[in-house]
Amino acid sequence: MWIFSRLNDAAARIEGILIVASLWCMVVSTFVSVCVRGLHTKLGLAWANDALGSIAWSEEFARMLVLWVSLLGASLLIKDASHIKIDLFSRLSSSRLIKLRDRILSAVTCLCCAIAASVSYQFLRIEMEFSVKMFLGLPAWLGQMILPLAFAVMTFRYGLAAVSDAQRDQKEQ
């Protein structure tokens, strides 16, 4: 089991790096474009207008990063076992029953993420087949690949939680 646990930690480290990089890119690209637009509209600087044209792709880029940050954050959240839920049961029942319930629910969520990963992969294949493009003429699948990847990692994490108490132990710590 330790190898899965190590894999889980390694995935979390990579996700952490991607989140930080994505958030920085999001902040910087949006900040720069609002400043440049301000310079053009308020001060009438011609070069700002040219610069605005050359960074027009940044908005689409930032929007794509919203998807990346969201899915990476959602995946990382599984380690804390704190996804949003309606939890009436744990306030009413014994800890042994709760442990059993958590395993069943993790298995169900694992199945859901596995289906999501599979349909996301099919979606990606279709987009690749039709050579759909995004900003700067880049292939759209580069942005979309986060969908199957994140759901695959989530499948792995929920699968792990279904067969071990790693998640619960982490939460208790």
Binding site: V69, S70, L72, A74
Partner: protein, 426 residues
């Protein structure tokens, strides 16, 4: 078969299945039953990358998380206390205003109670406020302020309903003030009744506390100014706010280390964003199925037979939304129920902006409603009191908030007066 699976799914959700999985499974089941390819779910989730409005959510969340680090809460409390501490029951007012400030910036995520609860609770007790009063006040304060910019629930509501963000923020302003002012009045009345000691106003303390918080106090004004002067859109204002808060926290107050703290805060804020947005993705797919299967029309047909007239509809709506608010967090509640409610409200002649304000107010109240309102549990864990005690302590404040809700529901002008003055595109 599908009916049995749906029944099991509802059972699992009530038992604690992550909400995104419950909604996504429901979408899978529905699409499968109607013979639509399941890749529709992936396509709907990918739609999140095509909505400019959504960019504001990770940016404002990051700004909120940055602000909740370090001494911002302490400085804002000190300033409010120097300004209003001379009133009888003034500290209660201070607590409510400070929490509203924080809730608006952090978006009713429970951070307010976690960041401010301990500090304000000990301050209230040390000034001889009754314990039940203090507990109730701090519990409800976790959702007071969610009407004000840049509150995330308002942004999310606009995304789901297609309303103009600036207009809904404007419509929420007076109702938000009402929701804030009524508990403040209650605090003043109780303070007078209990003969609490007043702090004399001190210019020295006021200027010192103002100097202390001078970089943080203007943040709400910068946000409102940015959006309403047309200088920047809500999303652009969010980016400007992040940069401003980063400069203030790292370079001026030196409370956040760019090496030690920043990565951790960014990851925490991304988890928060992820928890909301994955439900949004699942809800988009589920809504797609609902619309394709004419479910909103069927509910509309059913309700038309059951409820006649706007007044009766408002009563049913309020009861339903309070129930939803006490079972779900505000973000999921918006994502799941708004697409169902909008056609109904339209049929009964409710203004979309008014509906938005009613929605937000109800969910804010639902957050504090026993037995399972989320704020009750957050406050119970932060203030280390049994949740049953909080049920009792919150009741007077709940009654006050329900008065505010009734006023907001039955006097539409409270919501619609300001937007009628603002000429923006719908």
């Amino acid at each position: 078969m599908i009916a049995v699976a749906s029944f099991i799914l509802v059972g699992l959700v009530i038992m604690g299945l992550p909400l995104f999985a419950g909604i996504m499974f429901a979408a899978f089941l529905g699409l499968h039953a109607t013979g639509i390819d399941l890749t529709a779910v992936a396509i709907e989730i990918f739609r999140m990358a095509n909505a400019p409005v959504l960019l504001a959510i990770p940016l404002f969340t990051l700004a909120g998380y940055l602000l909740s680090e370090g001494g911002t809460s302490r400085r804002i409390v000190r300033f409010s206390q120097s300004l209003l501490g001379w009133l009888p029951g003034g500290l209660g007012v201070v607590a409510l205003i400070t929490c509203a400030f924080f809730t608006a910036l952090t978006g009713a995520t429970g951070i307010t109670i976690i960041a401010l609860g301990g500090l304000l609770f000990s301050a209230l007790i040390s000034e001889d406020y009754k314990e039940d009063f203090s507990l109730g006040l701090l519990t409800v304060s976790g959702s007071i302020g969610l009407h004000f910019p840049p509150s995330l629930p308002v942004i999310l509501y606009c995304f789901v309903s297609g309303l103009n963000i600036e207009k809904l923020f404007l419509a929420s302003l007076l109702p938000g003030l009402l929701v804030l002012i009524l508990p403040c009045l209650f605090s003043l009345i109780q303070g007078r009744r209990w003969g609490l000691e007043r702090r004399p106003f001190s210019w020295g303390e006021f200027t010192a506390s103002l100097r202390g918080a001078v970089w943080e106090l203007p943040i709400p004004l910068l946000i409102v100014g940015g959006i309403y002067t047309g200088f920047s859109t809500a999303t652009e204002t969010a980016a400007l706010t992040v940069v401003y808060v980063l400069i203030v926290k790292i370079m001026i107050y030196k409370e956040i280390s760019p090496v030690k703290d920043l990565n951790r805060i960014m990851k925490e804020s991304a988890k928060m964003v992820g928890s909301i947005m994955i439900i949004l993705g699942a809800a988009l797919a589920f809504t797609n199925f609902l619309v394709d299967s004419f479910i909103p029309d069927k509910i509309l047909g059913f309700m038309e037979g059951l409820v006649t007239g706007k007044m009766a509809f408002l009563i049913v709506l309020n009861l339903f939304l309070i129930l939803v608010g006490c079972l779900m967090d505000i973000f999921s509640a918006i994502l799941v129920t708004v697409p169902l409610i909008i056609p109904l409200a339209d049929r009964f002649g409710l203004d979309p902006l008014h509906l938005g304000v009613i929605f937000l107010t109800n969910l804010a109240i639902g957050y504090n409603t026993p037995p399972v309102g989320l704020n009750l549990f957050i406050a119970s864990s932060r203030l280390k009191r049994p949740v049953v005690r909080l049920y009792r302590a919150t009741l007077p404040f709940l009654a006050i908030l329900i008065v505010a809700l009734l006023l907001i529901s039955y006097v539409p002008a409270i919501s619609l007066f300001l937007p009628s003055l603002y000429h923006a595109t719908p």
